[in-house]
Symmetry: C2
Subunit: 315 residues, 2 copies
């Protein structure tokens, strides 16, 4: 069988990764750009398209069957990115149509978290599952939700914004303009706000005080915690507890086989998973206490996102 | 075609209604018992089964093809009622098997709210919808959720406990043993707790002070509000606002075509729907603000529950 090619593009608030994928799931070309540097979305589309066309030989171009895009607030039904609080482009962006014009193949778009969930289902730890939830802990908190073996898109493609449930009424201001959204507590940016809150609460010494909050990453906090920094451990406990409470609610709502954690924060492993598991069990309904299952995504971060997005194009 | 019969049984925290339903959706016999009076579940099953057998002629008995039961915490996959906080029977009750022994036909059980949603899909306002949510506002708050045209059961039949999400962290004690569950604010019992909270907050005169909280019903509060009782209006505004905030989250999660309200509280109409709609729009994500749709169930209360439960048996 002739080798069919797709392009998978994963757009994050910070970086965009993309690749050319064959029908065996091999990534033959990888690229990356910094999303935030492209205030003009036209330029963003042109830059990526040019790189892809440059890589494909004329021969290969005719094997390209489609493009799949995972993007925050990407709408499967309309092909648009709609009111994405964590992207530089406001209102409605017809991204699928823009890429279609450049690359001349069908373009499918979905929420970046849906793309991650499709990746988990096809290439990762959810191969045998029909009901599961993937939480992507990046700049924001995204959710890709499988119900009865299918991604839940909702009536209009906008389902799955679990990061924007009101988790703390009247709580922290969110990029979406509202207050108390889950992602202001549990995400790569949320954990930094947890750092600030915990540092404000005490004068205790901590390695956390030696780096600007701008430069601090979840990886730094994890490495401080590994070195025994008490407040860094506390930051992970607090973040894990918030995550666990959210997961208890996710079990009440979806009763999934498992909740997968994906993205930077998930790499902190037991530092965040253990407090999350404890809080989830403690806060779950009686009927769910015995089968709370929290797993780390089995997919390698950036490849997973590319593969998940490309799987959209193969579907 | 020979007329096939099913039995639909709707078990609520207060009352249980049941009926014999033919394949045209006509209810040929209706019965009712007070759930709370049956501390012994064996007696409950015997009483209802005897009434049904008594009504069916020998001829009709052979046309009975199945029994469908809607019950709080009813599990579609196991046939059990599992840890229902609002029923007199604790732990795990194998109710489907108990009725099967008495009536000698297949028995299917599900969450009472799922039964209401199936009723709405087959006989009510959701006939053309594939993605919608039914909230049942009774003793508790139940949810029946359609995703991609099918009821969402989750991996183990326990999905859809939306009444038990933690709506107010550290809030009111719930029948499930946890704190702050949505149903402690928004349900027939929740609205009475809102009455107490609002009466505690002021010395203002109100008709609400002339009736014991035990005897007070949502219907009473609505009739006081209609007579211009200021605090009664305030109770509905507060309850509606809580409901609307919950519905904003439901749109973030499910992006349904509509949310249907079912049960006693929904009968208060605009008294509760208008503040709910306003709060839902105010608290929704930008992408959802323009299509928040809150509808009152098109089904007549007790018939709907019987029909919804019986539809399970026909399925």
């Amino acid at each position: 069988m002739e080798n069919k090619l797709t392009v998978g593009i994963d757009i994050g608030g910070t970086n965009t990764v993309f690749g050319i994928v064959d029908n065996n799931g091999n990534i033959t070309f990888r690229g990356e750009v910094r999303t935030a540097e492209y205030l003009d979305v036209e330029e963003f589309v042109k830059t990526i398209s040019t790189k892809i066309k440059h890589f494909l030989s004329n021969d290969q171009r005719k094997n390209l069957v489609g493009v799949g895009i995972g993007a925050p607030n990407g709408n499967f039904f309309t092909g648009n990115i709609e009111f994405a609080p964590n992207l530089p482009w406001k209102d409605i962006v017809p991204l699928a149509e823009m890429f279609r014009k450049e690359l001349d193949v069908p373009v499918t778009i979905t929420n970046d978290a849906n793309a991650a969930a499709i990746g988990e289902k096809i290439f990762g730890g959810a191969k045998e599952m029909n009901d599961f939830v993937v939480l992507t802990l990046g700049t924001g908190l995204g959710s890709g939700i499988y119900v009865n073996g299918k991604i839940m898109y909702g009536a209009d493609g906008n389902a799955g914004e679990y990061g924007h449930i009101t988790f703390v009424p009247g709580g922290r201001l969110c990029g979406c303009g509202r207050r108390g959204c889950l992602e202001t507590y549990v995400s790569a940016t949320g954990i930094k706000r947890n750092v600030l809150q915990i540092l404000a609460d005490t004068n205790e010494k901590s390695m956390l005080r030696n780096k600007s909050i701008e430069d601090l990453s979840a990886k730094d906090i994890a490495s401080f915690a590994d070195k025994g920094d008490v407040l860094s451990i506390k930051v992970f406990q607090y973040t894990g507890e918030m995550l666990g409470k959210a997961i208890a609610d996710i079990f009440s709502i979806f009763s999934p086989e498992a909740v997968f954690l994906f993205g930077g924060l998930a790499n902190a492993g037991d530092l965040i998973i253990e407090p999350a598991r404890m809080a989830a069990i403690q806060n779950a309904l009686e009927i769910h206490k015995n089968h709370i299952k929290i797993l780390v995504s089995e997919l390698n971060g950036s490849d997973a996102a590319i593969l998940g997005a490309s799987a959209l194009a193969f579907q």
